[in-house]
Symmetry: C2
Subunit: 138 residues, 2 copies
DNA sequence: TTCTTATTGCAAATTTGTTGCAATAATATG
DNA sequence: CATATTATTGCAACAAATTTGCAATAAGAA
């Protein structure tokens, strides 16, 4: 994992420092997107400021992306560090389900083509009730 | 417009106050999603705190939704106050293009069905370069 | 018109994000 | 391997955004 990171950084002329490794490792070890506050707590040896700066850099380099998540934003690794996917979010129990939809990707391409738009990235999310919560509530 | 609002509020037992009308009117008068700071400035007679509380309530009642917008979030009225749609966002000039895609809605339904998920809402956004900026930069 | 109580505005606290700069450490170079 | 260069860090201090408690106000019911 760090090899690919090194490659990206070397290519761009940035240094692969221990704060950056720490933030990357936390994200890489997580199943789901993380809020900044969580990343800060998970890296007790790294200053808050460096975490803000690191996430800004990662996002600018396309290593992470910002995921809308209720009121706050969260961060998640992108491809090739984590395969491209989207989320179903259960508003009752909070579970996140990863989805990989070829059809969705096709629709993105089709919409962009129709609008003469050059797509760089896209976000997608469905909120609602997971199978389990449908059965239990109401 | 206010009639429908009154209906929603009456049904839920909330009061339709002047701060709430003011925030609603600002959102209703806008073409695009608005940042909280903008809404605060647009309602000089309403306290900041009330605007936070109002947007929290609106979102909880499904009157508004949070739109990811670069680093910050913005707020926009939802159906029936504003027809359901999504955005293309040009990262160069900042323009927002509204899209209404039947295909996308079908994919949402299909994904939900496959996952046995009961969808309540969904977000979708493509970022990239608009026609104009493709021609001008690079 | 009066009563009840949800909602507001205010003040103050807290949390979140930003900036400038000297000290540190990652990489290139000899 | 030692040294030089300079990107990056941590710290302190600041600035902005968001939250909380509570008395005063006003919406809607009676």
């Amino acid at each position: 994992m760090h090899n690919e990171l090194e490659t990206v950084f070397a290519k761009e002329g940035y240094r692969l420092t221990s704060p950056r490794r720490a933030v990357f490792d936390v994200l890489h070890g997580s199943e789901s997107p993380l809020a900044i506050a969580v990343i800060i707590k998970a890296c007790p040896d790294v200053d808050r400021v460096s975490i803000y700066r690191t996430l800004e850099l990662f996002t600018r380099l396309g290593i992470t992306e910002i995921i809308p998540f209720g009121w706050k934003q969260r961060y998640e690794l992108t491809s090739p560090f984590k395969p491209h996917h989207h989320h179903l979010y259960c508003t009752n129990c909070g579970v996140l389900i990863d989805i990989h939809s070829q059809k969705l990707e096709q629709v993105v391409a089709a919409i962009a083509r129709e609008q003469d738009f050059q797509p760089a990235a896209h976000k997608f999310e469905i909120t609602g009730l997971c199978r389990h919560c449908q059965a239990n509530i109401q």
